[in-house]
Amino acid sequence: MDKNRLISIKEEKRAKIIENLLQNDLIELVEDKVVLKGDYYKNQLRIALRNCDIINPFDIEEYIAFDGYLALHNVLTNLSQREVVDIMKNSLLRGRGGAGFPTGKKWEEAFTFDADQKYIICNADEGDPGAFMDRSILEKDPHSVLEGMAIGGYAIGANKGFIYVRAEYPQAVKTLKHAIEEAKTLGLLGKDIFKSGFDFDIELRLGSGAFVCGEGTALIESIEGHRGMPRPKLQRTAHVGLWGKPTIINNVETFANVAPIILNGAEWFRSIGTEKSPGTKVFSLVGKIENAGLVEVPMGTKLRDIVFDIGGGCQNNKEYKAVQTGGPSGGCIPKEYLDVAVDFESLASIGSIMGSGGMVVMDENTCMMDIAKYFLEFSVDESCGKCIPCREGTRRMYEILELITEGKAQMSDLEELENLAHVVSDTSLCGLGQTAPNPVITTLKYYKDEYIAHIVDKKCPAKSCKPLITYTISDKCIGCTLCKKNCPVDAIQGELKVKHSIDIEKCIKCGSCYEVCPVKPVKAVEIY
């Protein structure tokens, strides 16, 4: 494999792929660039997702057709390790896994640390509920990750890479395996790549679904064959990591950004996004949103633009209430902050985090206590059990939220909840525990009145917590019997054309009567 061969593949393939996509009306050309067709994509800028839904992930030549492996060629034949590290540093690319640590700086740490063996690890243990950014890249453009890793390997002096991917992503595993084989066959992985003397191999390691293994040190423990539990960092992973050797861990999206930066330069990258957070970010827009899906936009884009312009607002024209960013570690962003710029600093300033890119949209009928409980339950389930505050504390917090949503809590429980939230956040060992209380902390910050309503008034303002609501039928009832027919527990009495009533002893609050009530504009079934 050499540059001429890369270019000849590109020339041979690219036009055909584009022609085919145009014929199927999937793309349009904007200033000679291939863009996926449709309003949804109009306001997006796709760098990490550049090839997704455009190329066939099982054909390495299609990746090459869109400039694939040119960056690696350039790096191996024209640049020193130092130069690559410098380009990455200048680009100010920040880790897309959530913490936002400058990638170039991390690489420099490992590059300048002397060792006989170094490792590069791709963290593909995506686990936030509702997040599937990495999965899409792995399934639709695996080579962008392999190429990024190889460049990273060269930069720091590692010739061995691992992709730690969850076993629950079988398609991603299959795609990656195929891609690694293809790259090896073409000599783009393995010995003496592009005759540069640089060797690089990549192995897959399958995680078994422990969320905590996305944490760097737990991930390393897991690759080493131990139970995936975080370890305290006395030394940087970039100095003492996998098997005690200097190790770089970057996530999938970070690696996918590497080749474009090399090809287009650090300046170009910095021209996108904000000063401190250049480039784009992929979000997984889910929840009560009209157009759910993956979104890649420049950093600093307003939250409102993402939710409304791209996402089309809440489903069924319901009112927007909040968006949860950053998954179980993140926080809720209420209406008044819809104009916040989505970048690392701005989100942190309002108590949430960028995280890996999950965005769960909630509407007026979402009870924030319920949301806090849901995310906390996730953290309770995913706690590895190692440190006391996370193992014991998240459980106790969850129990209090249970009491609150059941209307059994007292104000003193709320104090205890706040107290625990701070202890767990202050003293837990790893990021999972430290951030687990965030959903509670932000909901307490922005929706304290809802907490008080649950505790003092025993009411759920969002009318979502079943133990706190009752269904009744008002005088508007036309006696159509629809509700009676649909009630699964025969809790509704009433004759045709006579007002119906609900036996609250029998009622299980399933909401079927409300759904079917045909009275307009205000339904006869009411929820209190």
Binding site: A210, R227, M229, R231, P232, K233, L234, V380, D381, E382, S383, C384, G385, K386, C387, I388, P389, R391, E392, G393, T394, R395, R396, E399, N419, L420, V423, D426, T427, S428, L429, Q434
Partner: protein
């Protein structure tokens, strides 16, 4: 050796730059509480009891896993620190049986000590507590998951120091316990019953199966040398009422705090009813108890007889590799100086 200067609790100190804050504090007599630290093992960072405030850091830092830096200013007893430790202890007590009255570990239990020191009490709550799980399949010790605080010392001693790796954490989160593969019981695992896990357990989760009932404050400790092989492990014999009731390893010694199954658990022979309690003389094929004076008299008679009839080389003695140096010395002296023979040997060859 590079040193750094730092301040801990308003005390300016200069220490080796490779130390952690906890080690530095310890070196000047400032004790920082911990439940999962052991100087023989890698830093684990699970208990979070050793948190301290370091000026310039917003969050509390665990002193076990923070290296000292020049100019660092550390506070180990601020209100924030104390509050965090109390909360951690409270979380532990919320999930721990309130049976210190009858727990064998009482008096020697770190959790109890810290709860007392930080004035944290058991309280009623309606939350979950860990399921009851007891593994008593091993003949020498028992594991009680409810008393386990999951400090991981046992797991790490087993895998890093004993290098057997019989036990590990099983399950996750709140349901985590210490167990064996497939939870098949310790006796069916790779466990070699060395009891090194028992020796490091800070609570009553791993306890020897004791034949005697004793409270830890009732026992006396006598340091001595184990009698079961040539390694010479140093042990403390725990005694009550002139009975050996337990053994614990000495850390600062050749065995570095480790023992084997025999050293740790085989002490019941000392007080065994089969022990010889008086000299025995065989008469007509039957052994009868006699006095020491009588025994010595008989020996003198026999010695005089053979010495006169057969000479010094009709005596022979087998000394013992189980006895002390002083005894071996005297035994050969008896044969050489008194019986005038060199017919003396011991079982070095066996």
């Amino acid at each position: 050796m590079k040193t750094v200067k730092l301040t801990i609790d308003n005390k300016e100190i200069e220490v080796d730059s490779s130390l952690t804050v906890m080690q530095a504090a310890n070196s000047v007599g400032i004790k920082i509480p911990n439940l999962c630290y052991d100087e023989r093992l890698d830093i684990f960072g699970a208990c979070r009891m050793c948190v301290v405030e370091i000026e310039g850091s917003k969050k509390l830092q665990t002193s076990c896993s923070t290296k000292v830096r020049d100019g660092m200013v550390v506070h180990t007893k601020t209100e924030k620190v104390i509050q965090a430790r109390r909360e951690i202890l409270r979380l532990l007590l919320d999930n721990h049986p309130n049976d210190c009255l009858t727990c064998e570990k009482a008096g020697d239990c770190l959790l109890q000590d810290y709860a007392y020191e930080y004035d944290v009490k058991f309280r009623n709550h309606t939350g979950k507590i860990r399921d009851r799980y007891i593994d008593d399949s091993n003949p020498f010790y028992v594991y009680d998951a409810q008393k386990c605080i999951l400090c991981g010392l046992c797991v790490r001693v087993c895998s890093r120091l004993q290098v057997t790796g019989a036990i590990d954490f099983v399950n996750r989160g709140f349901d985590t316990i210490i167990g064996t593969p497939f939870n098949d019981g310790l006796i069916n695992s790779d466990c070699v019953s060395c009891g090194n896990c028992v020796s490091v357990c800070p609570t009553g989760a791993l306890m020897p199966k004791s034949k005697e009932k004793f409270r830890t404050w009732e026992v006396e400790k006598v340091k001595t040398t184990c009698t079961f092989c040539g390694v010479g492990c140093q042990i403390n014999l725990l005694t009550k009422d002139d009975k050996v009731v337990g053994v614990e390893p000495v850390k600062n010694a050749v065995n570095e705090g480790l023992l084997c199954v025999k050293g740790k658990f085989s002490f019941n022979f000392i007080n065994h009813p089969d022990r010889l309690n008086a000299p025995l003389l065989k008469e007509d094929g039957v052994f009868k108890e006699i006095s020491w004076d009588r025994a010595y008299e008989i020996i003198k008679e026999k010695v005089d007889k053979y010495m006169a009839e057969n000479g010094p080389d009709s005596f022979a003695g087998l000394s013992s590799a189980r006895c002390t140096n002083e005894e071996n010395y005297l035994f050969q002296k008896l044969f050489r100086a008194v019986l005038k023979t060199n017919n003396i040997d011991h079982c070095a060859r066996l």
